[in-house]
Subunit: 201 residues, 2 copies
């Protein structure tokens, strides 16, 4: 320990915190000193939660969503429409779609989107496994719910091309104005998509 | 696990992250899902760093700064001026003053500032221990380096009144304009303090 610096355990905690996304060196320092002041049980609970996530979470062998047991609760459920599969990029997206309460089908998590610059090609995503599910029958419609970003759109197009020969219906989430938006502040692309997809009143 | 919710370990990690200051529910969720994707070693390192901070950090019995061994490196050093004691609110403040490289004395960490609303009275702070250090001799000057806030100022005044009878010199950090500031955007209090403390050019 340098005479004037922070004790090694604190410096290390600052370093570990600053590896997290959106946490800069200043925030990391504030968090580390907060942990120091906070009750020991709080630090212990966070440490255990970190370990548990890594030890107890696995991927469902069917939909590749995160779960504590494989197959996951969604894939095993009798209350879901097995002819509908919603394809998302990340496990968090499953939660977001579930929260709407408007979807009663199954999911398929790709674990990313095509991104050649970051070295993410089709073989890094769970695309083969999706084709396998569709080939096995049952699935009547695949809803592409990737992000409306360059990478997400490219992934949708790529997957759609592979699914087409299998005779399954492939749809994607509607593009348009988000609720509560202000026309004045909408970007051109969103606005042109909303125009293209205009609906009868 | 509810069929549609996040698996329990993830939900718990989200909950633990959101207990940290400045981390809302959305950020906590983002952090938890990041941990899930990140290498297992990263999660393990953060968990261990959390535990280590709680297990290996103690307070120095003299200055009450955080340290791995008591007395701390600063109190034990032969290169520091033992007649000068800089009083700060928090351990992090020691680091901040050390970083200037302009102070070669010792420190005393109060672990807070007087704050009647939050129930912080003199007995919650390391004030008696400071008086004990001054009474033991050696100390010629105490520099009050509490925050320039209501609570910090009140704490300084309170400590200064207790130190006065002991015949020690008590000073505080200068008040004035911060470097690089713009007069136009300075608050009235800072500006009046800078006027009061004006210096010969």
């Amino acid at each position: 320990m340098p005479e004037a610096g922070a004790p090694e355990p604190i410096a290390r905690l600052v370093q570990e915190f600053s590896k997290l996304p959106g946490i800069g060196p200043k925030s990391a320092q504030r968090l580390a000193y907060h942990v120091l002041r906070a009750p020991e049980d709080d630090a212990r609970a966070l440490a255990r939660a970190l370990a548990d996530v890594k030890e107890r979470i696995v991927f469902c062998g069917t939909c590749f969503n995160i779960t504590e047991r494989d197959p996951c609760g969604l894939c095993e459920s009798d209350n879901r429409d097995r002819t509908l599969v919603c394809v998302v990029e990340q496990p968090l997206d499953v939660l977001v779609v579930e929260r709407t309460g408007g979807f009663r089908g199954l999911y398929h998590v790709l674990h990313g989107a095509l991104n050649p610059i970051d070295g993410v090609g089709p073989e890094q995503l769970r695309i083969q496994e999706l084709l396998g599910r569709v080939e096995a029958g049952d699935v009547a419609e695949v809803i592409m719910a990737t992000n409306p970003s360059l990478e997400g759109e490219a992934t949708s197009m790529y997957v759609q091309r592979l699914l087409q020969p299998l005779g399954v219906r492939v749809t994607r989430l509607a593009r348009g104005l988000p609720s509560g938006a202000d026309l004045e502040y909408m970007d051109d692309l969103t606005l042109s998509r909303a125009l293209e997809g205009r609906q009868e009143l």
